[in-house]
Amino acid sequence: MKSYITGLSVAILAGSLQVGSAAEISGKVTLKGDPKPEVPIDLGPMCGPLHPGGEKVTTRHFVVGPDHGLANVFVYIKEGAKKGGEPAEQPLLDQKGCLYEPYVLGAMTGKPVKIRNSDPLMHNVHATPKNNPEFNFAQALQGQVNEKAFTTPEVLVRMKCDVHPWMFAYIGVCDHPYYAVTGKDGSFKIPNVPAGNYTIEAFHLKAGAKAEKLTLSDSDKKTLNFELNAP
């Protein structure tokens, strides 16, 4: 019994040390300069009622916060990460109000992405990747969920709906789980990164990309900020 308790304690201590040794990268992406204004989208008679109260829907090329934080930037380890691992949660691409949510999403190779139709309308889900097989299927029913996985890393894969041509979103596919997408304030966090030497890239579809090299030790919490330029 004593040896069992000792062994269990050693295992718990070793496990906590392992979790504690994982590093974290966090930071913020900001936009320098003023981008072109977003363009209003005409949702038409079928999709318009899904946005009650006269809510204006626009393109989402540059979603910039009050302190120039830039949303929808895909931040990921471009070099140095070992393949494999598990993502923190299963990514979900939803169709709500005839818009894809979120606009930019991260996923791992070989791990399924959930694609859901939350609208009372038919959509089709059409992926147009360069390095992965293309697919196109219908989601006719509200609540319908399908799963699809990508086989090859690709930044970024475009998803679109051919029924509603203004609907498109992007998925960043990595062969490891160390990626994040900036929120409305431009901030991001990539937890549980093993110690090592890495190149971190912040990729935005319109503002371009910037990369930084970083060395992480066990339990490091490093902050990395990127400034991208408006075209």
Partner: protein, 355 residues
């Protein structure tokens, strides 16, 4: 004489009218098909030949929404055109005296079936490149049906003795052949551009990104993509797409010159049916130039871009008719007298009719 035999002849006025009806229907199909690409709806229905699992003829109208409306109605219209083509081919086979024209009807039937298969494969294989062949074959099929309508017309079968050869007509014919080739090349360029699904590779006209010749280095192209605020899903602009559009502009100017020369040579020198065709051809090319500019100025408005496709098809068909009709006169066939002992061919039997 067999009481049930059908007499084949080359004078079939109702057959000719039906061929004209089919030609007009195919022009409509060019428009409907053009709207599919203009609205980016080519993949809105992911299966074929069914429609979201339904038999395509029983797909509920309530579900014809958004891009589905354009793609599905295109399939139905195409089915109707296919059916009309079956009727034309059968009618030609039963009633038409000229063997070559009967086989041309069969060829038209094969072409429309091939066109349907190409359209379906483009969807199930998700290959944009097949869309380019689909678009090109559509234009060729339109010209073929117009030609069948011409061959079945009295103008072709009965002769116009007052029309004579002339050096001017020979020149018009050569220029029309050259113009037809240029227009077909232009249609191929246009189809290739449209099926890149990248929107306008050059957003201004007559300048190109504010210059006479646009920069196409990687940094400039990256900047074009960064500055573009697309509302619908568009593929990124590439340098090759920019070159395609510049080639399209250059060929447009070339066509204008060729048609202008043809009109200059022909309008004062050739007989009336050819003058009418030359006026029509010239007008179509000028309209087409305007529509091309308007396509850019309206940021590729779907209706304008589709009209540009349709007028392109009409321009090609007009050129082909001009070539065929001038060839007929130049070969002296129209002024030849009908032979006295013309064999009358019954369907299934051949009989000699004494003079």
């Amino acid at each position: 004489m067999n009481c049930c035999s059908i007499v084949r002849t080359k004078n079939n006025p109702w057959l000719h009218r039906f061929a004209v009806l089919l030609a007009v229907s195919v022009l409509g199909l060019l428009c409907v098909g053009g709207l599919v690409t203009s609205h980016g709806a080519g993949m809105a229905v992911p299966d074929w030949p069914n429609t979201f699992g339904y038999n395509m003829f029983f797909f509920p109208i309530s579900k014809w929404v958004g891009g589905i409306f354009y793609e599905h109605s295109h399939r139905l219209y195409a089915s109707a055109v296919g059916f009309l083509t079956i009727i034309l081919a059968a009618w030609l086979w039963i009633k038409e005296e000229r063997r070559w024209l009967r086989w041309l009807g069969v060829f038209a039937l094969f072409a429309v079936v091939l066109q349907g298969v190409l359209g379906g494969l483009r969807v199930v294989w998700m290959k944009d490149q097949i869309g380019i062949f689909h678009a090109a074959l559509a234009q060729m099929f339109f010209c073929l049906v117009c030609a069948i309508a011409l061959f079945s017309a009295r103008w072709w079968t009965e002769g116009q003795p007052h029309l004579v050869n002339s050096p001017a007509l020979a020149t018009v014919r050569k220029l029309a052949i050259f113009g037809s080739v240029l227009i077909f090349l232009q249609l191929l360029l246009g189809a290739t551009m449209r099926h890149q699904h990248a929107g306008l590779a050059i957003p201004d006209f007559p300048a190109a990104y504010g210059r006479f010749w646009p920069a196409t280095d990687p940094a400039s192209v990256a900047r074009y993509n960064q500055l573009r605020a697309e509302v619908i899903a568009l593929n990124p602009i590439t340098s090759s797409q920019i070159w395609l559009q510049m080639a399209h502009r250059i060929v447009a100017v070339s066509i204008l010159i060729v048609v202008g020369c043809t009109a200059t040579v022909g309008l004062r020198s050739v007989a009336r049916p050819f003058r009418s065709l030359l006026w029509a051809w010239s007008a179509l090319i000028l309209i087409q130039l305007g529509l091309g500019a308007a396509t850019i100025w309206t940021n590729k408005s779907a209706d304008v871009a589709t009209a540009h496709v349709a007028v392109g098809g009409l321009s090609l068909a007009t050129a082909v008719l001009l070539v065929l009709m001038s060839s007929r006169v130049l070969r002296g066939e129209l002024s030849s007298v009908e032979p006295e002992r013309a064999p009358v061919e019954s369907f299934g039997q051949r009989q000699e009719v004494p003079a």
